[in-house]
Symmetry: C2
Subunit: 240 residues, 2 copies
């Protein structure tokens, strides 16, 4: 009986890792679709999100069945409840990748991202994908140091987000309002995606140590100044 039980618990963990891999791949492909204005790839990403939603449903059904049948306590209970939260983070990350792909589809055959922002958006997309790959690794290895590293990577995302805002607010911005709106939303999608990856990693830390990740980190965050900083600061508060 206990063996079947731990198999079920493992299978929930496997489901989380699969979800993380799918949404990591989705954000990478959505970014490519956006930058290349590749309609087929965009539609592919949009459709593929269904698989993520199905995985989440399966995982939740398994978790609830396990709670009902096995009535875990202490650590095992915490694992199951935390898995439910991680699956919500991952499902939401999938939606955000889908939003990027939908914006690519909406602007096709045009490109939503002007060429002078191409490099920044590419970096944001790649960083988002790396963050999620690390989150998957954290789920597998339960490596607390790696998990804490994700928060530093997330600072990089905030920096990229600020670069994006600096471009937008620059008097020399010449791409008009529609593109400004697109870039604003894109920036937010990537930032939120990164927040969810960090959140997944933090939840693993909590599982392993029983402490919230924030309490394990003593590095003070540098004060952010100025307009775009305050915006980044505002949204940065979300990852807490």
């Amino acid at each position: 009986m206990r063996d079947a039980y731990h198999e079920e618990l493992d299978s929930i963990g496997d489901g989380l890792v699969e979800m993380a891999r799918l949404v990591g791949s989705a954000i990478g492909r959505a970014t490519t679709a956006m930058l290349d204005s590749d309609l087929k790839l965009a539609e592919n990403v949009i459709e593929a999100d269904q698989k993520v939603d199905e995985l989440q449903h399966d995982l939740e059904a398994k978790a609830i069945a396990l709670l009902a049948r096995q009535q875990p306590v202490a650590t095992d209970l915490r694992i199951v409840v935390t898995s439910l939260r991680m699956s919500a983070d991952l499902e939401r990350s999938g939606d955000l990748a889908q939003h990027v792909a939908k914006l690519a589809r909406l602007r096709y055959p045009d490109r939503a991202v002007p060429s002078d922002l191409h490099a920044t958006i590419l970096e944001m997309g790649q960083l988002a994908q790396r963050l999620m790959a690390k989150a998957a690794e954290v789920i597998i290895t339960k490596d607390v140091d790696l998990a804490l590293q994700l928060e530093q990577d997330d600072d990089e995302m905030d920096l990229l987000h600020r670069t994006l805002f600096q471009h937008l607010m620059d008097d020399r911005w010449k791409h008009g309002i529609e593109t400004a709106v697109d870039v604003t939303l894109l920036g937010r999608y990537y930032e939120r995606f990164a927040d969810h990856a960090v959140s997944v990693a933090k939840r693993v830390v909590y599982l392993v140590t029983g402490e919230h990740a924030d309490e394990l980190q003593t590095d003070a965050q540098p004060e952010i100044q100025g307009v775009s900083g305050a915006l980044s600061g505002a949204s940065g508060a979300e990852s807490a």
Copy 2:
């Protein structure tokens, strides 16, 4: 023993209602702070979000303790797990109200919202507050019809969001890029807030009927055309 158990279950429900009331009030006050450029009110909203976070922590601790000690099955188990999800929706709604207040603070003493968009933003803020008030009522009454009504109210939010985009995309837009960025983010905050209120109501429907709200509704959504529609459509997909 069973009495204490049902008291605990009730107290989780009370916590959810209190969270919904706090975040409903927060989005209303944040909107006022934004439209009046009232710094004190903005700071008040920003600080008050801590109370919402505390309520969520309490509620989660109670839910997990209840799972461990009472090991509920069937309906009661579903109630506890669903309550955890609702509290996550409500906590996130509080963050979004806080984002609105932070934008008000950032632009103070200026107003983030130009006067020709004042009425639309006011409507969005009021609608968001009403949606959350209804969500609280749904938690208390478990009224499925009222819950389904929230989805129709959310269509109104989508309409307002589209109006906002139409203003932004209008060639006569004269408020510059910074304001366009602010308005884009604001629109998204209100829309997401509404999505979370709808989500809370849907989860109650699921608890009461065992069916997902989408399966109870047969009204087809009207097809949305055009640029802002496609954007609304993209984000509208999130509430599903």
